[in-house]
């Protein structure tokens, strides 16, 4: 362990400490509980107002108030920083932020030796990128990448000036050498000078967490475990904390960052994509390799993680949790539904394939002429608006307006509505409107709409996309995507069989309450935290004044809930004797070690 003090602030870090409001809360005592200090690593997420997955992080932090959280947040843009933070609960000890969108050159110019060290490490790093495929690289290459990465991190910690060095001509030259080396992939060999510059710039950006001063003993070195809330840049500080201070790392990925990178990087030239995907692939493999536990959000993310080198033993699927109370009333009164109405709820966009749903509804109407379809949701973006217009036109074309009798005003059996109106004030009302909920997407991640329908105790018919089969289990009907006839048949079966509808709905609600609640999510993470601290505790060796290791410096009581030694842990009841509120008295006075003792 490196105990050298920090000598430089490499990147401007605005840190602020969130003091708990008023008196410190009393710790919750439970048998077998332990106080875990968690370093929550986020990138463009919590605690920023516009962050990804901030709701999940907020529930996690609020739900585990027996633990302490240090939040290390990388912000994604200036606009995000300006929007500010969400209110933080008192168990958040401190929030340290660093901008990932800009890096100030710290003005450090490397000396000859540091330059050579940089060239060596960077050369190794890019050489490892140019050897073998992105993920299926041999173990030696993965090792080479990791060593080079940690070498650069150590250089940044010892000397600083990594931002300037990563932008320098030396870095570009090293890249060129690696690309022209024999054995480099074809795309990399064809890299031109602008490609090299683009790769160097992107690597500089991706490696910015290396220059942070988070890895000292009073920073990430002091936490019991690092919890990275996504892969990629957020996990990099966790990796370095693991390298420098031996802090165990937990990685949660609700969306696989590597796949996001593949989908986003479509515009760059082949050489840039080849090198950058190699970098992100290696980084993901290293993250999964070093992490103590990796928690994917569903089986789909899990398959990607396994593919990228995560060992099967480390993977624990933790489903996202949703607030079930909103749907409790609807879920417990399934008889209020209109038995002849199908409901589709979601955001209107092309991937939802409403066209297919409308064609299926045409088939359903042939069998069950009284059925109605309510499409509930707002369009997302201009594309969604165009798609919604198209769907309205198609619905008008397929289904003429109908009336009950010759003197009544008719309307279309397909209605397009939005939540928030007088008819459907809440989301739960939307699901309550119909007996059967339909999901017709062609592309889907984790189908939250389906989970909501399950909470409402509705029978569902969904297409077999994304994590649908995994979510629904056996509690709903599943048909292939882009198959309106199969969708129609499944809907007709359910419309004709109210008993089966009720059975399926009850089963779906039971399944959702078991698997997809917030409590389930928080309990799972609580268990994982305790497992990590018990299995792979941080071994901290404290040194005394003479540099000798201090035995029993970090006693087991340090993990007992509440602060036993700190001045804030005065557990005096209100109205207690005033003398009891004095400074805490040490149970044992430290005895100076003498030769005879």
């Amino acid at each position: 362990m490196d105990n050298r003090p920090s000598r430089h602030r490499l990147v401007r870090i605005r840190s602020s400490r969130c003091e708990p409001p008023g008196q410190r809360r009393l710790p919750i005592r439970e048998i077998g509980g332990a106080l875990v200090r968690i370093g929550l690593l986020t990138e463009g997420g919590y605690p920023y107002v516009s962050g990804d997955a901030k709701l999940w992080c907020d529930r996690l932090v609020r739900g585990l108030d027996q633990h302490e959280f240090d939040i290390y947040a990388l912000s994604r843009s200036e606009a995000q920083e300006d929007e500010g933070w969400v209110p933080l609960p008192p168990q958040v000890n401190r929030v340290i932020t660093a901008p990932l969108w800009t890096a100030e050159d710290d003005g450090v110019v490397h000396g000859r030796r540091a330059r050579r060290r940089f060239t060596e490490c960077y050369g190794e790093l890019v050489a490892a990128l140019c050897a073998g495929g992105p993920v299926e690289a041999p173990a030696t290459e993965a090792d080479r990448f990791a060593n080079a990465l940690y070498g650069l991190a150590e250089l940044a910690r010892d000397e600083g000036g990594l931002v300037g060095a990563l932008r320098s001509e030396g870095a570009v030259r090293a890249l060129e050498r690696a690309c022209r080396a024999p054995g480099a992939p074809r795309a990399a060999r064809e890299a031109r000078v602008p490609d090299l510059l683009a790769v160097a710039a992107h690597l500089e950006q991706a490696l910015r967490p290396l220059s942070l001063d988070w890895y000292e003993d009073d920073g990430l070195g002091a936490v019991d475990l690092c919890h990275a809330t996504s892969g990629g840049p957020a996990a990099l500080p966790g990796l370095l904390a693991h390298h420098f201070a031996g802090v165990p790392l937990l990685v949660t990925e609700y969306g696989v960052r590597l796949r996001t990178h593949y989908l986003n990087a479509a515009e760059s030239s082949p050489a840039v994509r080849a090198l950058l995907t190699a970098f992100h692939g290696r980084l993901a493999a290293e993250t999964y390799g070093r992490a103590t536990i990796v928690t994917p959000g569903n089986a789909h993310a899990r398959r990607w993680q396994e593919r990228c080198g995560a060992h099967r033993d480390k993977l624990r699927t933790v489903y996202p949790g949703m607030d079930a109370t909103r749907f409790a009333e609807v879920g417990e009164s399934p008889e209020c539904a209109d038995p002849e109405t199908l409901v589709w709820v979601g955001r209107v966009e092309p991937a939802k394939d409403l066209v297919s749903l409308l064609h299926a509804f045409a088939d359903i109407r042939k069998e069950e002429p009284k059925t109605r379809l309510r499409i509930i949701g707002a369009p997302s973006g201009p594309e969604g608006k165009a798609y919604l217009g198209h769907c309205r036109a198609l619905a008008a074309q397929l289904f003429p307006d109908e009336a009950d009798g010759p003197h009544a005003v008719g309307d279309n059996p397909v209605s397009f509505e939005e939540i928030g109106g007088p008819e459907l004030p809440t989301l739960a009302d939307a699901y309550a409107a119909g007996a059967v909920t339909v999901l017709s997407s062609v592309v889907e991640g984790f189908p939250l709409g389906l989970v909501e329908a399950m909470f409402c105790g509705r029978a569902t018919v969904s297409t077999d996309v994304g994590a649908v089969v995994e979510v629904i289990g056996g509690t709903g009907l599943v048909v292939p995507p882009r198959n309106p006839r199969a969708l129609a048949e499944a809907c007709v079966v359910l419309l004709r069989d109210p008993e089966r509808r009720a059975r399926l709905g009850a089963a779906a609600r039971a399944r959702a309450l078991e698997l997809f609640t917030v409590e389930q999510n928080i309990t799972a993470f609580h268990g994982i935290y305790l497992e990590i601290v018990s299995r792979t505790p941080v071994r901290r060796v404290l040194l005394d004044d003479t540099g000798e290791p201090l035995p029993f410096a970090a006693p087991a009581e340090a993990h007992v809930p509440g602060r036993w030694t700190g001045p804030t842990a005065r557990l005096v009841a209100r109205g207690g004797p005033t003398w009891a509120a004095g400074p805490p008295v040490r149970a044992t006075t430290p005895i100076p070690a003498t030769e005879g003792a």
């Binding site: 997955a53 709701l55 999940w56 994604r76 800009t102 050159d105 110019v109 495929g133 993920v135 001509e169 570009v172 030259r173 060129e176 022209r180 992939p185 064809e190 031109r192 000078v193 090299l196 710039a201 609700y254 969306g255 696989v256 593949y262 989908l263 082949p270 994509r273 080849a274 995907t277 959000g297 569903n298 593919r307 996202p320 949790g321 949703m322 966009e349 092309p350 991937a351 165009a386 798609y387 198209h390 062609v442 592309v443 889907e444 991640g445 984790f446 939250l448 994304g466 089969v469 629904i472 056996g474 009907l477 599943v478 292939p480 995507p481 198959n483 309106p484 199969a486 048949e489 007709v492």
Partner: protein, 426 residues
């Protein structure tokens, strides 16, 4: 928790238009949906086909589109994805974004999407042609803006000099003060935008402007002061006339302020041409070799324009144009600015400071020689001025500085990293 589902969305295909086309295709194709296989579901699922109402024909197991090679058809459908893919995972990600799941992959006799993507990646025909590199986009910002702004200092300087010629006494002093302020602000404005602006404000170091002001002041007053000092003066402050004992030389000021425009244009030329060479060159060495003549060419072009400006402004102001010292000073300032613009801030500050210090030392030695017993101090300056005249000091100092910066620039400005596109927000 409405955002976690979005995180794992594989991402839909973009553009509503394509989807509308597809939905149009549905209309005639609805009768052909039996080409899709029967609803697949895990064993515990309720299978709709099992409870189909009597009278329905079960879907035929043979499919219309299944040719001998289904993967080939799939590759054709996703040919753009296949053509640009750099590894199998990219194809896998793209296929998933189009709704291909493991169940779909099973139809192609693959275990999962990954192995399907691997087969597709392995079967991509690889011919030798590489896509031609695209021309780099022009950096945003209007050219007219900075081109006009670069003319501002020269215009204001001309106006000030005209004012000085027309006024006397107190009014003249006021005109001079206002003119100097206006020209200084105009120069700042000209350097704030356009090709002479620093792209990285964070790396800007203060200090170079102080030394630049000193060098300009020396160009106007220094030679006169030196000449006066060597002859025992100066006895009075400069009064702004060329024939006083401490004369004011205004030609360099006029030429240099007008030279802001050619400086901006040569910086623009260098940046634009270098970007084009960047796209065209294959290696860093190629790029350096092609940029070096470009750099020297633009530099020479600037010097030629400055010389022409001097030749015009000298007779206008009835002064002999001080070619050597103004050209060296102009070269020094241009190179310092070019280096700063491309991110090399250290060398220009050092050289400008050293040049100013040398000039100050030369003046100081002459004055210090008046102290008793210190005659020898002025000997070097006195020798130089008697040999080549009092302008030698400025020419020598600025020339040396410019030469050093030129050598430095041929090494640093030919690097590809100096011409990298300014960083865009991530």
């Amino acid at each position: 928790m409405s955002d976690l589902g979005e995180l794992d969305r594989p991402g839909p295909p973009a553009g509503a238009a394509a989807w509308d086309e597809r939905s149009q295709e549905w209309l005639p194709e609805t009768t052909n949906t039996e080409e899709q296989p029967a609803p697949v579901a895990p064993p515990e699922l309720h299978e709709p086909s099992a409870e189909r109402a009597p009278g329905h024909t079960p879907p035929p197991t043979t499919t219309r589109r299944t040719a001998a090679d289904p993967v080939k058809a799939l590759m054709h459908r996703h040919r753009e994805l296949c053509e640009r893919a750099v590894d199998p995972l990219e194809i896998a990600a793209g296929l998933e974004a189009h709704g291909v799941t493991d169940r779909t992959a099973a139809r192609f006799r693959h275990r999962d999407v990954f192995s399907l993507a691997e087969e597709m990646y392995a079967r991509i025909p690889r011919d030798g042609d590489t896509p031609t590199p695209l021309a780099p986009p022009e950096p945003p910002g209007s050219r007219a803006g900075w081109a006009l702004r670069a003319l501002l200092p020269g215009t204001l300087c001309t106006a000030t000099l005209a004012g000085l010629h027309l006024t006397h006494g107190r009014a003249r002093l006021a005109v001079a003060a206002v003119g100097i302020l206006a020209v200084a602000l105009a120069v700042r404005a000209a350097l704030a935008r356009g090709p002479l602006s620093t792209r990285r404000p964070a790396t800007h170091r203060p200090g170079s402007s102080t030394w630049t002001y000193w060098l300009l002041a020396y160009a106007l007053l220094g030679d006169g002061l030196l000449r006066a000092a060597l002859t025992g003066g100066p006895d009075s402050l400069p009064d702004g006339t060329p024939d006083s004992p401490w004369p004011l030389v205004t030609t360099p000021a006029l030429a240099l302020t007008w030279a802001c425009a050619p400086a901006a244009w040569s910086a623009h030329l260098l940046a634009a041409r270098a970007r084009r060479k960047l796209t065209a060159s294959r290696g860093l060495e190629d790029f350096a070799a092609s940029v070096r003549p470009l750099l020297l060419g633009t530099f020479t072009l600037f010097l030629a324009t400055l010389a022409a400006l001097l030749a015009v402004s000298g007779p206008t102001l009835n002064e002999p144009p001080p070619y050597a010292q103004t050209l060296t000073l102009g070269a020094l300032l241009l190179l310092a600015r070019l280096l700063t613009v491309h991110g090399f801030t250290h060398a220009p500050v050092v050289i400008l400071r050293a040049t100013a210090a040398a000039q100050a030392t030369a003046l100081a030695t002459v004055f210090a020689a008046r102290l008793p017993g210190c005659d020898a101090l002025a000997a070097p300056v006195r020798t130089l001025t008697t040999l080549w005249g009092p302008t030698t000091i400025q020419t020598l100092t600025c020339g040396t500085g410019a030469l050093i910066l030129l050598i430095h620039a041929t090494r640093t400005l030919t690097r590809a990293s100096a011409h990298a596109q300014p960083e865009r927000g991530c």
